[in-house]
């Protein structure tokens, strides 16, 4: 008699989940939301498949038809929906913001409904095979596909676990979609992250402090300062600074966006000039503005500040640096501290680390914050422990795998 097939674990496939794959695959067959993650797991010899591989032509056609019917409901109600937008903005004296909804509503609805219906239809098909779906692990549940994954599981009694891809530094009381996780359980990387979700209204009994699996690699072998500077061809007698840029995320309107970024960079450049520093500009991977790297190169040349600009080589650049300066309370400050590199960041509205470190300031005071960071002597390990409970040993992936096995028998 054939043995029962192993249970299936649904998994989003974001990079934070990668350290979990091998451990989870000892117990489960992995069904990935992201096909590229399934491919990567398959290349490691792990029992895995892409969720969408279950979709044959009839299923895809049926899902498309269902999505079109639902989209039609939106398009047929376009005038009423547009009126809701107009009423809200007219009440604020900004009627112009409510105009033109019809130009994008139909396309928006079609895209967002199709994405979710596609995921749900695949999950229905998978459930219909008779294979047992033991649980769901996701690195976020705000975007349409991951939220659909979690919503389907919640509606069908499948345990859902959110392993946040990064700590969120929203100040208490500031509303934001990132507070609104839909998964039942959360694997919090540290006490500060657990507090964030508790403050956001999540049941504290469903939050487990595990450490952050995405940080385990930070404790593996990494280049020393001398090697990193040799590889990057940095031969500079003064301090080496890393400036981490950011990007304009418009799910909220806080920050002054481009003006704020420009003022922050100008202040960092001025400080670099003053202290004779070399600057590595690490451009955020979400910043796709054309010519952005060239803009930084030109401004450094104009200020006669030596340096380099790249979107890559993060570990080497951190290792080569004496201090990281982030535009906003970036999680790079955390990764820098794990590498033994102190940091300071330019503050932005509505966000801050919950800990006294990293040092912080506005354009007028960031120079002093950089000076404090370079002076050394602060308790960076204490700060990191708030965000990664397994610092400095690492090994969070094992904790998360154990949590998943416990919650998803």
């Amino acid at each position: 008699m054939a043995s029962d097939p192993r249970p299936i674990l649904l998994i989003s496939g974001g990079p934070v989940t990668e350290p979990l794959w091998a451990g989870l695959a000892e117990t489960y067959d992995l069904a990935f939301l992201y096909p590229q993650a399934a491919q990567a797991a398959g290349s490691l010899g792990l029992p895995s498949a892409a969720l969408n591989s279950i979709a044959d032509a009839p299923l895809a056609e049926a899902a498309q038809a269902a999505a079109l019917k639902l989209t039609a409901r939106v398009i047929n109600a376009e005038d009423a929906i547009a009126a809701k937008f107009s009423a809200e903005f007219a009440a604020l004296g900004a009627s112009q913001l409510g105009a033109g909804v019809g130009a994008w509503l139909g396309v928006f609805a079609h895209q967002i409904i199709s994405a979710q219906v596609g995921v749900a239809a695949q999950l229905e098909r998978l459930a219909g095979t008779g294979r047992r779906i033991a649980g769901c692990v996701t690195h976020e549940d705000v975007s349409a596909d991951t939220r659909a994954l979690v919503a389907w599981c919640n509606a069908h009694g499948v345990p859902t676990i959110h392993v946040p891809h990064a700590p969120c530094h929203l100040l208490p009381g500031v509303p934001d979609i990132h507070r609104q996780t839909r998964a039942r359980y959360i694997a919090a990387s540290g006490p500060a992250v657990a507090r964030f979700y508790t403050e956001s209204g999540h049941d504290p009994n469903c939050i487990f402090i595990t450490g952050g699996p995405q940080y385990d690699k930070m404790y593996a072998e990494r280049p020393g300062k001398a090697e990193a500077r040799r590889v990057l061809a940095i031969d500079h007698p003064g301090p080496v600074l890393c400036y981490m840029t950011t990007w304009g995320q418009t799910t909220s309107l806080r920050s002054d966006f481009e003006r704020e970024f420009s003022a922050g960079w100008a202040a960092v450049l001025a400080e670099a000039q003053k202290i004779g520093a070399y600057v590595c500009v690490l451009v955020h991977w979400h910043d796709n503005r054309p010519g952005v790297e060239e803009r930084y190169v030109q401004s450094m040349e104009s200020a006669a500040v030596p340096g380099l600009v790249t979107k890559n080589h993060m570990l080497y650049i951190l290792s080569a640096s004496d201090c990281l300066i982030a535009q906003g309370p970036s999680n790079m400050c955390l990764e820098a501290a794990m590498s033994g590199v102190p940091s300071a960041y330019l503050q932005t509205e509505g966000f801050d680390y919950a800990t006294a470190l990293p040092y912080r300031g506005g354009p007028e005071t960031i120079g002093a914050a950089i000076g404090q960071a370079l002076a050394g002597g602060a308790d960076w390990d204490g700060m990191v422990s708030q965000y990664n409970a397994v610092h400095p040993q690492g090994g969070a992936a094992e904790n998360v795998v154990a949590m998943v096995r416990q919650l998803c028998p």
Binding site: A66, L70, R73, V74, A77, I81, K84, F85, E88, F89, A91, L92, G93, A94, Q96, L97, W104, F108, A109, Q111, I112, I113, A115, Q116, V117, V119, A120, A121, L123, E124, V142, S143, A144, R147, A148, A151, W152, N154, A155, H156, P175, I177, Q180, R182, W247, G248, Q249, T250, T251, S252, L253, R254, D256, F257, E258, R259, H286
Partner: protein
């Protein structure tokens, strides 16, 4: 009109725009899944209108 007022209006829209349309499939609330994308679009439109298109993602 402050940014906080605008954000509050955006959230009211996110919660209400699909009310009564029955946007549900296999137990999935499709309007809830649309929230992130809708907030992003509203934010982009508003930043362009308020600040001349220089800002935002």
């Amino acid at each position: 009109m402050s940014k906080a007022d605008l954000e509050a209006a955006n959230w009211r829209i996110v919660r209400a725009w699909a009310a009564g349309l029955g946007l549900e499939y296999a137990g999935v609330d499709l309007a809830d899944g649309a929230a992130y994308a809708l907030l992003t679009i509203l934010g982009r439109i508003q930043l362009e209108a308020l600040e001349g298109g220089e800002n935002g993602e």
